[in-house]
């Protein structure tokens, strides 16, 4: 009883800031501009398969790169002394304190035709076409979302008991076996939340693709943005696209969780 009454304010919060907006999105997605029920918006989505796929593709690549970079980094941080840990976590977090747009604009001026990097390469008579490519988009995603991968990984790894690792070595594991049998399964919860926290914002971003991808590489976020504030201006279609994107995300997350749970029998206990 007590826990129920304590939960009441949070219930209210959820109602106002989660349920109601969701309901509004669903309402717009299934109505036309006159407020009449229609499935036209949903059917219209067929024409947007390509940006959907390319968003998921780029988001997935960025997530994988983040994981590959963050995993050893987090491991090194977690195995360092207390002071080094604090400093390194700080260094990972500092870019996050700067404005997201600012960070992305900075990359824009670095990657531009006459940007910082090309000026540097120019010294050697080289020139690269970097801005407005999907590579630039992925770079922007990795740069912006890497901390969201490092932090959950670091926190599970820091919690790992040294003696458990020693016990594994004691029972015959070499370094690789220790990794495969102990460190990897014990860090899976961190991998799962890291993937979720990077993949979801990466797929739905529009700022990064707009600034670093130019007009060429449209992602689904850009289209949705255009439906609401841009030239296309179609709230109903925008809402429908958002809804589908959200469902796709939920499916992805459910899938990751499932893989996690299959891997370790007591996945729930670890968190």
């Amino acid at each position: 009883m007590r826990s129920k009454s304590a939960a009441a304010p949070f219930g209210l919060w959820m109602l106002i800031f989660t349920i109601v907006p969701m309901a509004i999105v669903v309402y717009f997605a299934f109505t036309d501009p006159d407020g009449q029920f229609t499935l036209a918006n949903i059917l219209e989505i067929r024409n947007y398969a390509k940006p959907f796929l390319s968003s998921i593709y780029l988001g997935a690549i960025a997530t994988v790169i983040c994981l590959v970079l963050a995993y050893p980094l987090s491991f090194i941080i977690a195995r360092s002394t207390e002071r080094v840990q604090q400093t390194m976590v700080m260094i990972v977090m500092i870019p996050m304190w700067m404005n997201f747009l600012l960070r992305t604009y900075a990359w824009m001026s670095i990657l531009e035709e006459n940007g910082f990097l090309n000026q540097f390469f120019g010294l050697f008579g080289l020139h690269f076409n970097m801005i407005n490519t999907s590579g630039a988009i992925v770079l922007g995603m990795v740069y912006n979302f890497l901390p969201f991968m490092v932090l959950p990984l670091y926190s599970v790894m820091a919690k790992m008991d040294d003696r458990v690792i020693e016990a594994a070595r004691d029972l015959g594991c070499n370094h690789f076996e220790v990794f495969r049998r102990i460190i990897l399964p014990l860090s899976t919860p961190g991998i799962v939340s890291g993937i979720t926290m990077v993949f979801v914002p990466a797929v739905s971003t529009f700022v990064i693709s707009k600034l670093l991808g130019g007009g060429k590489n449209y992602m689904i976020g850009d289209i949705i943005e255009a439906m609401f504030v841009g030239s296309a201006s179609n709230y109903n279609l925008g809402a429908a696209l958002s809804l589908v994107l959200m469902i796709l995300m939920l499916l992805c997350m459910a899938f990751t969780r499932k893989v996690d749970n299959d891997e370790e029998t007591i996945g729930g206990m670890m968190a």
């Binding site: 458990v164 016990a167 206990m269």
Partner: protein, 409 residues
């Protein structure tokens, strides 16, 4: 079938195949050959010396206990044997082979860590099976041996349980089963029972001793509980500040302590200054006593140890020494009586009650007097003066009252 075959020859013994295995192993290596030898081991952390020139030999099949106060280097010694720590200098031998640089996974040693260190992501079965899976043993064989091990530690039926839901004693037993499953030659146990309550600790002590006897494995056991050490071990190694103080059987350690530290750390002791007049004759408190010790220089200053339970209380006129009782504490089996002899207070354990301020005599038989050479620990232990003063203060209600009143005014 194999079991039948083995048992057929000795119809008086019933045992399972794995016991036969160990018995065989035990027989082969039992001839008190060294299985582990530490030579001249020194370790320091940040300029702080933790082990100094440690030499230790451990025979196969032996139950050896490292006993000493907190911080004396017991865990460090185990970590060196297990391969988790490389000594700054010195060598580690297994079966006379140098293994100082061998990593833990290549040593025939398993460890039961101070707080078990079970794998939290695996269930009981997979924890116990872990070492065998790493060794790529056959599934069927693994399953059989896990069952055997769980039977050995009384956890049959717990296979599917998550280790996080087990009680301390159960986790402890899983840790034992996990370490024993791969048939180590040596088992290192670092205060394995420290986290358990008294009752469970006693049970587990018996269980561990039992397992060790049945399997004939060498146990190296770390504890700072002297009673545990005395009751379980074949050999006790008493350590203090990174040095071995004495190695011996529990009886040796108790009856013939080599210095004041050991005498004080193992049981209670009255330790007095004495002079060895000649062989079998010692003088202390201005009186001569015959004793069983010899081999000292004439008139060599020595430490004299008298155990509180060895002292006989007699009428004052019949006593070798006469003193006054200054405090009495009831301890269940006996009274712990503090007696003042010319300003030096002794502890005497007696089943008879002698009230405070009573004058008593004591009689010392030659076998109750133990002589030790002087050491760096002389004069540091074995005087119960401070002990009884604490009691005096507590027992004096008026003194306490005046103190409080004085503060109030």
């Amino acid at each position: 079938m194999l079991l039948r075959f083995h048992a057929a020859g000795r119809d008086d013994i019933h045992h399972t195949p794995q016991e036969t295995f160990y018995r065989k192993g035990g027989c082969i290596y039992m001839d008190s050959k060294n299985i582990i030898r530490l030579e001249n081991i020194s370790v320091s952390f940040d300029d702080q010396s933790v082990l100094q020139n440690l030499d230790l030999q451990i025979s196969d099949g032996e139950f050896v206990t490292l006993l000493g106060p907190s911080g004396c280097g017991k865990t460090t010694t185990l970590r060196i044997i297990g391969g988790f720590l490389k000594p700054d200098s010195g060598s580690v031998f297994f079966d006379d082979q140098l293994v100082t640089d061998l990593p833990p996974h290549k040593r025939p040693v398993n460890t039961i860590f101070q707080r078990y260190a079970l794998f939290p992501h695996l269930n009981v079965f997979d924890n116990v099976a872990f070492g065998m899976q790493v060794r790529k043993m056959k599934k069927e064989e693994i399953r059989e041996r896990v069952e055997e091990m769980l039977r050995l530690v009384n956890l049959t039926g717990f296979e599917k349980r998550s280790v996080n839901t087990l009680s301390g004693g159960q986790q402890q037993r899983v840790a034992i089963a996990r370490a024993l499953a791969i048939h180590p030659r040596v088992l290192l146990l670092d205060e394995p029972l420290a986290a358990l309550d008294l009752k469970l600790r006693k049970d587990m002590q018996a269980e561990l001793k039992n397992i060790q006897k049945r399997l004939g494995i060498t146990f190296i056991y770390v504890t700072h509980d002297q009673e545990e050490a005395l009751s379980m071990s074949d050999t006790v190694v008493v350590m203090d500040s990174g040095k071995i103080q004495q190695i011996g059987t529990p009886q040796d350690i108790y009856n013939e302590p080599t210095n004041a530290f050991v005498a004080d750390f193992i049981g209670e002791s009255n330790i007095l200054d004495g002079v060895m007049l000649s062989d079998y004759l010692v003088e202390f408190f201005g009186r001569k006593f015959s004793c069983l010790d010899s081999g000292f220089e004439p008139n060599e200053p020595v430490d004299v140890v008298i155990r509180p339970e060895d002292i006989d209380i007699v009428e004052p006129i019949k006593g070798d020494l006469v003193g006054t009782v200054t405090s009495v504490t009831f301890k269940g089996v006996h009274y712990e009586t503090i007696v003042d002899f010319k300003g030096f207070k002794w502890m005497i354990q007696t089943t008879d009650f002698y009230d405070v301020d009573r004058t008593i005599g004591i009689k010392l038989n030659p076998e109750d007097i133990h002589i030790m050479k002087k050491s760096e620990y002389s004069g540091m232990f074995g005087d119960y003066s401070s002990y009884s003063e604490e009691f005096d203060e507590m027992a004096d209600p008026e003194a306490a009252l005046t103190g409080e009143e004085a503060e109030e005014r």
